[in-house]
Amino acid sequence: MTSEPVTAKTTTPTLTPKSRRRLPPEVNILLVLVGIALIFEILGWIFAGQSFLMNFQRLRIIILQVSVIGIIAVGVTQVIITGGVDLSSGSVVGMTAMIAASFAQSSTWARPVYPALTDLPFFIPIGVGLGIGLLAGIVNGWLIAYTKIPPFIATLGMMVSARGVAKWYTKGQPVSGLTDQFNFIGTGIWPVVVFLLVALIFHVALRYTRYGKFTYAIGANAQAARVSGIDIEKHLIKVYAIAGLLAGLAGIVTAARAQTAQAGMGVTYELDAIAAAVIGGTSLTGGVGRITGTVIGAIILGVMISGFTFLRVDAYYQEIIKGVIIVAAVIVDVYRQKKRKV
């Protein structure tokens, strides 16, 4: 044993030239998607004797189904990045579908509301729908920012109330006989176009604008964000307003696709949207998440539902499995957080 002072052998630090460029996190999620699709492909050949993927009609349905949830999920992702949650989007879909559709009915139909109206140009029902969604979002945001009640509670309240409005609006009657102009947005590939456009816009907004930087900063540390000069209250209202606006847009697309509106439209969509975000890598603790991930997350959900139907898995089982997947995604998130902490 040497006595003091001890001096080290001279060794030079050998820094391994390990590349610091990590793969974007979406790559993992994309691999999960490919994996799931391949599993269904194999199971398809085994149990149904046909291909799962080589079916244009099926792919079309998947992508259409994904579009509505995807539009909502783009807004919900931004909310979750700030560290909040939005439970109201499914009900807002129902509410805006009903109200927008009531302005889109053609004059040949008996109208439950506004019987005197004649055919209105398409931008009026769309404008009304977007406005209603925006308003719902602003109310959410205002409640959360200024009364400081938890987002869970504020949006839960909106979830119940908006559904109530949807039912009260026509006393439960569906709104049918919509103008072709209005229905156009729900035909063909248009819902997908709307979805991808929305995703692109907010992908850019989150990554390259001040709005995006502030959104992440608030989710990472709201106190520090405030001291750095971010008007947190104003910003939260913006984020929830956008989420509401997008839920409104989803409501319009839903009604146009169905060519009718019912008060029950959009039930549990909020959960699917949250699931898409979380599966796509958005962290429920805030500060982490990307639109690209959410898009892939929504597609994963769509593929799974379609796959189970294709394999004739009972609808009840489907729901159970979906629940398991959502919980699994959150567990993965918690695990990621824990690993980060070490």
Binding site: P5, V6, T16, R210, V227, G229, I230, V342
Partner: protein, 513 residues
Amino acid sequence: MSVSPSTMAAVRASGAVPQAEYLLNAENVRKEFPGVLALDNVQFRLKRGTVHALMGENGAGKSTLMKILAGIYIPDQGEVYLKGLPIRLKSPLDALENGIAMIHQELNLMPFMTVAENIWIRREPKNSFGFVDHGKMYEMTAELFKRLNISLDPESQVRDLSVANRQMVEIAKAVSYESDVLIMDEPTSALTEREVEHLFQIIRDLRAQGIGIVYITHKMNELFEIADEFSVFRDGRFIGTHASTDVTRDDIIKMMVGREITQMFPKEIVPIGDVVLSVKDLSLKRVFRDVSFDVRAGEILGIAGLVGSGRSNVAETIFGVTPATTGTISINGTPVKINTPTQAIAHGMAFLTEDRKDTGCLLILDVLENMQIAVLQDRFVKYGFVAEKQIAKACKTMSDTLRIKTPNLQETVENLSGGNQQKVLIGRWLLTNPKILILDEPTRGIDVGAKAEIHRLISQLAKTGVAVIMISSEMPEVLGMSDRIMVMHEGRVTGFLDREEATQVKVMELASK
């Protein structure tokens, strides 16, 4: 260690473990993070009943080594021995059960729980129904505080405590484990002299009981006062261990930095301009009262005082974090309303807060995102879009000026060493080109070399006409850098001292008036 494994096994089998030479030692330890070799073949040897200081620049690997000894990181290579026997610690809990406790560089208390709940977390006393026995817990806390001479209410919520008091709670918590080894990572970075003295008393008592204490600090005078031995690290390498009586301050600096530092407080005396910020009869209910002062362009106003004197609260109020109950703030002679930090920034203010974890760092975001966040209020943004290239360039320049040790600007701030996180926050505010710069403990956790560098920067800013307010618990810093010193005590201003007349004694007198 020169004992072969077989000898070791034989000794253990015989059941007669001799009093090992070291209480805790680590040999040939290596730890690599992606892109960073944090520890390269280092050793560390702690003797029973000694205080062993760890010295080294920011990012030298001190905290990493201690986290290995506390079971948080697993070394890539090397051995850790506890009382001469090799151990492999798998978790912090594992370390605690083996008698190794650690106080971390950043505070780790739950703000919404009481002091007592924080101290006894996961070890709460239970009553016969299996529920937490709160009465007993408060009693145990009171006893612990009495032993350590801490006067805090065990039932108060942690979020209501000042940073210094939180630090004392952390210290009490660590002591409560009754461990053989106590590791303290920069425990005094948030304490004023009075609490530091208090802490040293606690340390001396523990040392007398035979406990081994590891003490990380950047403050040289503390080393001579409390440490028996010290080890120096540089760039992840072990430089040497010496008795603290054998060396001078300059020797240590040279070992740490690899060069000499000539001037510790490079304060330049510059012509003082007009009044920029004027505060009149500012009060915040139940916190501070009737605070009035002016700061002029080019002036550095130091604010001194003990913990709880309200220094940080005054800064927070001026910056709009907690708006004043009464009083006026004027900028360039015009009264202004400042109710939010956003407004303060619009008036050209910048505010480096005291607690980098709570109100400073966006820990999960990267260096670039952390540095740019305040400046995005007005510059580098066009039609809402961030000018990525320009801002990245500005941040890179700032990062180089401050010599932030990070593999690149895309590194998560959480992975930076404490001192480097502090530099990121300094950079965040310097980027905003403030006219009024408020600094609360600016060099907290920053090494000697970098400290001189940051002092030079502050001086240069003053020279360009910035009005600087600097709160500091480090007496040499306040005395060395300030043109004028305002001293506070229990929420009141007790006096001003000019640079020429200020001495440590005079400041302390006013601070306890």
